[in-house]
Amino acid sequence: MSFTTREWWGLIHGMGLGALFLLAFAGGLAGLYSLKPALVTPEGVVERMRRLKVGVVTMAVVAWLTVLTGTWIVYPWYRATGPDSARSQLLADEATKGWHEFGMEWKEHVAWISPILATVVAFIVLYYGTNLIRHQRVRRTAITLFVLAFVFAGVAGAFGAFITKVAPVK
């Protein structure tokens, strides 16, 4: 009962960082949503802002770690030349080649939009701080970009899970 090095990295990239990303997104979204004048108190806002900053910065850092490990560690094993690589196996069968030609081709690119947008949101929260309570338009903008960052990561994560199911990196 053990994993190979490649399987470990697949787990770190997909499950470990994926779970952290999901947690940070949930915390960050709840924090951003609740920054409404009617829902904050002078005592609570300090603690709430601290939690929000941790949430959005964590999400940005995790998003970067996910795309970096995915692109520079797991992906080279996926696309290795030779008949045993996951890519070769998918392309060898007409029934599975779509997983590479559409799924992997989209995932490997679109995933990179997620850390960019997550970083933009982290910057907005760190720079603007409590002003997000007064300027609801900026808060809603941050939520929109935050959700988009999650959606792009979700597309990449879902295709990653499906492709790993069909042709795991070993």
């Binding site: 004048p37 108190t41 692109t71 338009r137 929109t144």
Partner: protein, 124 residues
């Protein structure tokens, strides 16, 4: 009546929260730069498919292939755009809603450029 009391209570609480006045320009710069980064990713993805020369140039790592150059160039374009826009807008009260609309259009272009059915249409 109850509504007016709620509003008064909210206003009183807001009076006790410390706010630092800051221009929205740096926020708008970050938002637009994010969109530019996404568009750059779409452009490099499509360019690598359309041109064999661009594909070879973007292959900065043999193990990763052209994806290495596409994503690093997109990140570079994003950071440069952010720095330039930040310097240009840092003291300006730039409207965030306008920045978001521009950014959403740019993100849409970026997603289109990374969508396989689109960029593969440029392949040989």
């Amino acid at each position: 009546m109850a509504h007016a009391a709620d509003r008064r209570s909210t206003e009183e609480r807001m009076d006790h929260i410390e706010f630092q006045d800051k221009p929205e320009g740096p926020i708008a710069a970050a938002i637009i730069a994010g969109g530019i980064g996404a568009t750059a990713l779409g452009v490099f993805t499509t360019l690598a498919e359309a041109s064999e020369g661009a594909k070879n140039w973007l292959q900065w790592s043999d193990a990763v292939g052209p994806l290495s150059g596409k994503v690093l160039m997109a990140v570079l374009v994003w950071l440069v755009a952010w720095a330039v826009l930040h310097l240009a807008l840092r003291n300006r009260p730039y409207e965030t809603r306008r920045a978001l609309v521009i950014s959403l259009v740019l993100i849409g272009l970026g997603v289109l450029g990374t969508f396989p059915l689109f960029f593969q249409a440029f392949g040989g």
